[in-house]
Structures are given as structure tokens and as C-alpha cells.
Symmetry: C2
Subunit: 428 residues, 2 copies
């Protein structure tokens, strides 16, 4: 407890923009986030009053940090799971706990665990290059090769086109010590995400389902609510996330990344073959009793012509797909994460406007106007855009901030958000 305020102390491991924005939210709750940063230039270290330094892979540093925190939580998933376990064993309240966090850290463990809970793409663990070749020959090329751990923003995801490329790429990665899984390349209509927050008490609150737009594996835009999403599908997505949060015992924010796919289509047609032979489908009959069928895209619940959902991956922290909630939802994901880990009742997740668009600001080419000058121009052009800068040095491709626009019409707010992000990136 902070003796000055009489309120509990939340410590966040990692000093990036998520910690930065969580600190911002903590101020309203009477708090001041304690941050474990790597350097004084970390986004959160630039703005938080209570910053400690240390490496998140160093158990001693984590132990020291946890002292005097009432709760420890995370800005990223790169803390070794055994360290999280060790802290918990020593009595630290760590949220999410190691058992839950594992499924945000390890895509192989996640795919195995969720096979009984949620529809997923056909997939397989990889031991040898031949596994990938055999998988691709069976489900169809190209396939998606993924590092089980440590990937983000598409780093750790490779699309391989044919058997030759698969054999080469896989051999290289295995040699480099990367543990891999392989997935069918889903013929996705679009990507969606749904966030829920869950408290230790067990309360779960779900946010509206959003559409996420990726470019080169990086999320560049989020539209809330997901345009033209059938109500039934939105409810299914929320229920899926709630079920996952409960089954895994997540505490804090959980983001479930989803693919929206056609019920019938060329890939799906192939995927049904997979059902017959894939390793996961053996469990499908017990799964049927508790929810949608697992294993292969076309195992995603009811049959028929409508779109369906498959789970891509999980994140257990505030997530890029929820930045829109700062202005666009009654309770931001950052406040909600704090409320959850503090075991406060969850806040209202309702939208504050009919249409909300968020666009990430990536660092543009060097030179040209300073970020300060760009801000001037942007504010002059669109007084309604909300800007969030992370205090980072601009480097090409680096996420240096995001913008959010609210309004009545999705096309309009989306165009404004894109324009604003481009301005900040390119100064034109």
C-alpha cells in the first residue's frame, strides 16, 4: 500500500507504451503506476514518477521490483514463465498468473490448450522440416510457419509457398533454435479482435468486437465496432473470449485475435480433409458438447453459408486492438486492466460514439518536418483527432503513437484517422 494515498501499488513489468498509457489511466484512480523499465528512454519511464530499472528476464530484478507492490502485472509477455511462477510461489500477487500467461507466451501451448475450447486453423507442431512439407502437401500451400515464442508485430511469422521453400526455411529456423508450429494459411475475409477483462473475483466484462487491419503483419488500423458484423457473430466472439478467460483463469485484459472466414470456400473445402486426418480432431466429439468444434476452419460451429470465426492468438495485457477505448469506450482498456488486477468491479465497456477508428502512427522516412511541426499542422487540419505519442525517437516502421477519431460514420472517421496517421508519419 502507498502510505501517502492509502491505495494499493500496482507494478508493471516493462516500460513501453502500454505501461505509459496504463500510468496515465492509473492517475485517475488515485494511483501512480510503478514501472520496471530497461532504460530512462522507455516510453513509460519518461512520464511515470516511480520507475525502477532492471531486466525482465532477471529473476533477482523481478523480486526486488515486486517488493512493495501489491500487484505485479505486465506490459509485454517476455517475462520467462518460470520467473512468474517463482514470484507467485514467493507470495507475490502476479496477474495474469503463470498458468494463464503461458498461453499468451507460447503459440504451441495455446493451440494445444484451446483445441478443446475454440475453433482454430488446422495446425501442427514442427520437429523436422519434413513435418512442414507433409503438412503443406496435406492442407495445401502456402502455409504459415510461426515461432512458438517471442514473436510480435509479425516478426516470427513466415508464409512459405511450397515444399522447397518450406524445407529450407524450416531447416534454417530449427538450426537457429526456434521452436516452430505450422498452420494452414486461412483464407480470411478480415481480422477481428475481442477484448475482455477478468478479475480475480471472476467478474468478466467484454468490449465490442473490433476489426483490425494489418499491413506486413503489423496492426495499422482498428475499427470499433467491427463494421457490418452480424450480431450473432459478435456475440459468439464475445462468448468465446469470456469462455477462454474463464477456462484459463486470466486476470486482467485478454485480447483474442480472430480471423473471420467464409463458411464455404476453396481453403475451407480443403480444411475438411484436415479434420479427417489432423492431430487435433480426435478431441472434437468431446468439444461438441461444450461449444464450437475444434480443429480446422470448418469446425467453427454451425454449418451453413455465413461467416465464421477462428482464433489466431491471445494477449493478456492491454493490446493495440484496444487503444481506441481511451476515447471510444466508457472505460479504457488501461483503466480496465488496473481495475481487474486490483480486483475492483469492472467498468462500463460501452462505446461512446457510433463509430471509432484508431490508426497506428509508424515512424516515417528520416528528415522533413519535426514531429512537433507535424503536430501543429495536423491539429490545424483536424481539431477533432486525438493524438497519442509514446515519446519514442522516430525510426522508420517503429510504432511511435496512435490517433483516434470518433463520429457517426465509420468511413469518415476512418479516412480522418488514416489521414492523421499519414501526416504524423510522412509530414504530408
Amino acid at each position: 500500500m502507498d502510505s501517502r494515498t492509502g491505495l494499493p501499488v500496482v507494478g508493471m513489468v516493462g516500460g513501453g507504451q502500454l505501461a505509459r498509457m496504463t500510468h496515465q489511466a492509473s492517475i485517475a484512480l488515485g494511483q501512480s503506476l510503478r514501472v520496471l523499465a530497461l532504460t530512462p528512454e522507455d516510453g513509460a519511464a519518461l512520464v511515470a514518477a516511480d520507475v525502477r530499472y532492471g531486466d525482465h528476464t532477471d529473476l533477482a530484478a523481478l523480486r526486488t521490483f515486486a517488493k512493495g507492490c501489491d500487484v505485479v502485472t505486465f506490459d509485454h509477455e517476455h517475462v520467462p514463465n518460470e520467473h512468474v511462477q517463482a514470484l507467485a510461489t514467493e507470495g507475490v500477487a502476479v496477474y495474469p498468473g503463470a498458468e494463464a500467461l503461458l498461453y499468451a507466451q507460447d503459440k504451441r501451448a495455446m493451440r494445444e490448450r484451446l483445441s478443446a475450447l475454440a475453433p482454430m486453423p488446422a495446425w501442427q507442431p514442427v520437429t523436422l522440416p519434413e513435418d512442414v512439407v507433409e503438412f503443406g502437401d496435406r492442407v495445401g500451400w502456402p502455409v504459415v510457419l510461426k515461432a512458438a515464442r517471442g514473436g510480435y508485430d509479425g516478426r516470427g511469422v513466415w508464409v512459405v509457398s511450397d515444399a522447397r521453400e518450406a524445407a529450407e526455411q524450416t531447416a534454417l529456423l530449427i538450426e537457429g533454435g526456434t521452436e516452430l508450429i505450422v498452420e494452414e494459411r486461412v483464407a480470411l475475409r478480415r481480422e477481428l479482435a475481442v477484448q475482455v477483462a477478468r478479475s480475480p473475483f471472476g467478474q468478466v466484462a467484454a468490449y465490442p468486437v473490433v476489426e483490425t487491419v494489418q499491413r506486413d503483419g503489423i496492426c495499422v488500423e482498428v475499427l470499433a465496432p467491427a463494421p457490418a458484423l452480424p450480431e450473432a457473430l459478435a456475440l459468439r466472439a464475445q462468448q468465446l473470449a469470456i469462455d477462454i478467460a474463464n477456462a484459463l483463469g486470466v486476470v486482467g485484459m485478454l485480447a483474442v485475435e480472430l480471423f473471420e472466414v467464409d463458411a464455404v470456400g476453396p481453403r475451407t473445402g480443403r480444411a475438411s480433409e484436415v479434420d479427417a486426418v489432423g492431430p487435433r480432431t480426435g478431441q472434437a466429439s468431446e468439444v461438441d458438447a461444450v461449444g464450437p468444434r475444434a480443429g480446422g476452419v470448418d469446425g467453427a460451429g454451425e454449418t451453413g453459408g455465413g461467416p465464421r470465426l477462428v482464433v489466431n492468438e491471445l494477449a493478456m495485457r492491454p493490446h493495440n486492438s484496444g487503444h481506441w477505448t481511451i476515447e471510444g469506450a466508457r472505460t479504457s482498456q488501461f483503466e480496465q486492466h488496473l481495475r481487474a488486477v486490483l480486483d475492483y468491479p469492472m467498468g462500463d465497456t460501452a462505446l461512446t460514439a457510433p463509430a471509432v477508428a484508431m490508426a497506428n502512427v509508424l515512424g516515417g522516412p528520416e528528415g522533413g518536418m519535426s514531429i512537433d511541426e507535424r503536430l501543429h499542422h495536423l491539429f490545424a487540419e483536424d481539431p477533432g483527432v486525438k493524438v497519442h505519442l509514446y515519446g519514442k525517437q522516430v525510426r522508420p516502421g517503429r510504432k511511435i503513437g496512435h490517433v483516434t477519431v470518433l463520429g457517426d460514420d465509420m468511413d469518415e472517421v476512418r479516412a480522418r484517422a488514416e489521414r492523421a496517421a499519414r501526416w504524423l508519419r510522412e509530414g504530408k
Copy 2:
């Protein structure tokens, strides 16, 4: 400039809740507010990364603080005006500047300066107790005695009922060295406030007019927009604030506190006498040409039966009457203040919901539930209420935070805000 971010550094003198919430807003702009606080327990010192310590009445401390700031601004108006002048002379960009700030610091100077600009209550400077007696006998009892400088939250405001009380109270205050003015006690229908932001470039943006509800001289509630305010009166209030901001050369947020009064009524009837004899009315004819007539309540513009406005006082910083803007306006007053002092274009001031109610949370009686437990209960009861705690130790009557509720119906959001504030204050 902050070499780590390439953005200018804003320094705020004073470490209270206004600096705390301004820091919060600065984070989104890529900034981190530099704060001059008195103690590490100051609300802003608890949450800001860059806190310096020193007394705001000490010119040397102000000079040291200003070094490395691109702009210096204020959390309160207690910095001696000559110190603000001195800093400006030495090349510091201080916003608002000393000439403007004076009118938020000194009620006598403000009344004199605004006499040609805005309708005001009948008033008079006080040199001797007899001045007050004579004024009261002329305009009617009771009258309002005010400290010209240093008052806030009603400290520095005394209602005196009759000649005897006036003579006694005034003698005491004069003896204590307090410079005084005396005003007619306005028969106010209600209190309003209007905020504008003005940049050095000269851009001015006005917020919707709000109703402020005071109890014992302290603002306890703010309703945005002011319920049932005729459009013409709202426009007049905004125009008045814009004119004042321009005339005084304000930079940053300006709050104009207003009284809404009947055009005709017992006090107003008396006030017309004042017009004939009061010291300010001599200027009324030149005033007529530029705007509403000055001097006395019934000099507030058009005649007729409708309500009219008189100016109570000015504040040149984020203000309690604008806390609702954090969630209730597209741009919060804290972001707007930063944009103004940074000479960025102003942000959109539109409401984000049809009805917004803000209630201050005052410290309640000692004992009972901790603030943490109260938060739990409040969040369980009303997931939609937005809480802002200032990190202060609870002391009876002290402003320890505020709550904001948004919705479609003013009666409903007001009741919820009141209930939430009472919960946090009393734990019941």
C-alpha cells in the same frame, strides 16, 4: 526542447490536482509535464516524472525552474505578479503573461479592467469601514465583502448583513492587512461558467457554457451544458469570454465565472439606483458602443424580461468548472491548456454526450471505510461513473477528487454523479 523526444518542455508552477491532470494530458501529446511542487506529497509530484521543488513565491526558485522549460505556466494564481514579469523580462515564455494574469489574481484590478468590457455587479474598492457601510446603505443589505487577492473556494468572501456587522468585519480585515472590495449581493438565479482557450497566435476556442453549483462558496457540481440555457444567452456568454480573452491577451485556459440574474427583480430594481451614482457608470456610454453596458446588474445588455449575465471572476488556468471536459468534451481543458501555451491549434470543444455532470469529492468525516474500499463499492454500484482521485490524504472538506457521469438525461447523470461523490465522501 526535450532531446529525448524532440518536443518542447512545458513547466507548470504548482503541484496540485490541476498539474496532476495536466501531466496526464501531456502524456498523450508525447510530453511529460515539468512540475514545480512544494512537497513530494503534492498531487502532481506523486505522478509526474519530472518534479522540481521550490516555493512559487521565491523568484530564485522560479528562475531555476524556468531554465530548460520552453514554456512556463501555472496550476494556481499565487505566483507574485512581479515575479511573472521578471521571468518574462529575462526571456522566459510565461503564459498567461503578467499583464493578463493580474486580472485573475486581483479582484479589484479585474473589476476595474472589466468595467468597460462586461456587465458586473455594482462594486466599490474599500479603504475604510465607512466605505462598506455607505455602499450597503446605498445598494441594499447584505453586501459581499471580498479580499482582492489570495482567496479561493470562498475563503476571502464574506457576506455582511448590516451596517454594524460591516463596520466590525471590515475593520478587522483591514487591520489584518487584507485589501478589500465590496459588491452588491446579486440575487442570482444560478451560477454559470464559460471557458475559452487562447493561443499566442490569437486563436480562441470556446467550450459550451456550464452551470456551476456552489455550496458554502465551494463548487460542488458542474452541469454541461447548462440546463435550459437560452441559446442567445449561451452565445452571449461565449462571446463575452472570447472578448475578455482577446482584450486581456490571455494565453491558455480562461474561465469566466458568471451569475445568471433576472432582468427585473427586487435587487435589480435597486441596482438601477447604483447606475446613477456608482463610480463605474461614468464609462457606460463608451462601453455601449463595444458591447453590453457596464456597471450594475441591470446594465447587462438588452432590457426586457429575460435572464442576463454578470461577470463574477476570472481564472487563467484549467479550472474546476472544466473537469467535466476530460470525458465530456472532445478535447479536455488540460490538453487544451497545453495546446494553447504550446501555440498549437486548438482542439475541438464539442460535447461527447448530451448531458455531463461533474461532482467534486470532498473529504468526509474521519473513520469508516478506506478510500480503496469505497472505490470498490462505488464501481460495483455504478460501472459507468468516471472517478478522478488526486492522491490527497482525506481531510474533512478538502477536495480529494471528482467524478463525472455522461448520458442522455441531465437529471439522471446528475443524480448518479451526486450519489457517487457522496459514496466516496461518506462511504454510504
